[in-house]
Subunit: 130 residues, 2 copies
């Protein structure tokens, strides 16, 4: 039993490998570009009304058969390791510009070439329940 | 070209249909349960150190061929509609209790029976870049 996900685009980043990437997006000031494939471009209309976006991406270099991190001595759902059954990465990014199908952002930790699977606007109240 | 995701568990909720569910998790005080399948249980070790979790789930009732919302007059990536190419839902939930393979949480908008695909601990600093 499984579901299929399709890339809607990919990430251009200065981070070329897992070793180079920060552990979390908010730990870097580097600018990345999210390139959306032409067939999904229509989905971006109105995105320029938002300052912060949720980006979901597919960590294509991850190992999927790991359930426990020996290094951290914790189950992988208690870590942010890319190695997990469904290696879907999550970042809240700040939008710098949107031009045609290219979104320039800050605070993205994904490596160069990472497939993007979803973009959602962030409701700022969403973070205020704490 | 696609990737395969596997459910790691499912959600038990009072919301039985899309019409009953709130538009966002933070709009409800209802308690939901996340049931993790036995084969993934080991991944939960250490999760009880976290107060807030990121839940990714598969919105199995969604339409995947929608790119533009006529009602909202925006592209679907500028909405939180379940109808999108990869219907992965995102919520930040508050943990109430974890017993064996069942996590009781608040602030989850998913409907009853929704497959869960990932759980990540929330780094609270992550939300502070705004």
């Amino acid at each position: 039993m499984h579901y299929k996900i399709v890339p809607i685009g990919y990430i251009k980043s200065k981070f070329k490998s897992r070793d180079e990437a920060p552990k979390q997006g908010f730990l870097t000031e580097e600018v990345s570009e999210i390139v959306i494939y032409d067939e999904f471009k229509r989905g971006l209309i109105g995105l320029d009304n938002y300052k912060y976006l949720i980006i979901l991406y597919w960590m294509h270099k991850a190992k999927r058969d790991v359930l426990f991190s020996e290094i951290k001595n914790r189950g992988i759902f208690a870590t942010r390791s890319p190695d997990r059954p469904n290696p879907i990465g999550f970042a809240i990014v700040k939008v710098l510009s949107i031009e045609k199908n290219i979104i320039r952002v800050k605070y993205l930790d994904a490596i160069d070439g990472t497939p993007v699977v979803d973009i959602k606007p962030l409701a700022e109240e969403e973070l205020d329940m704490r």
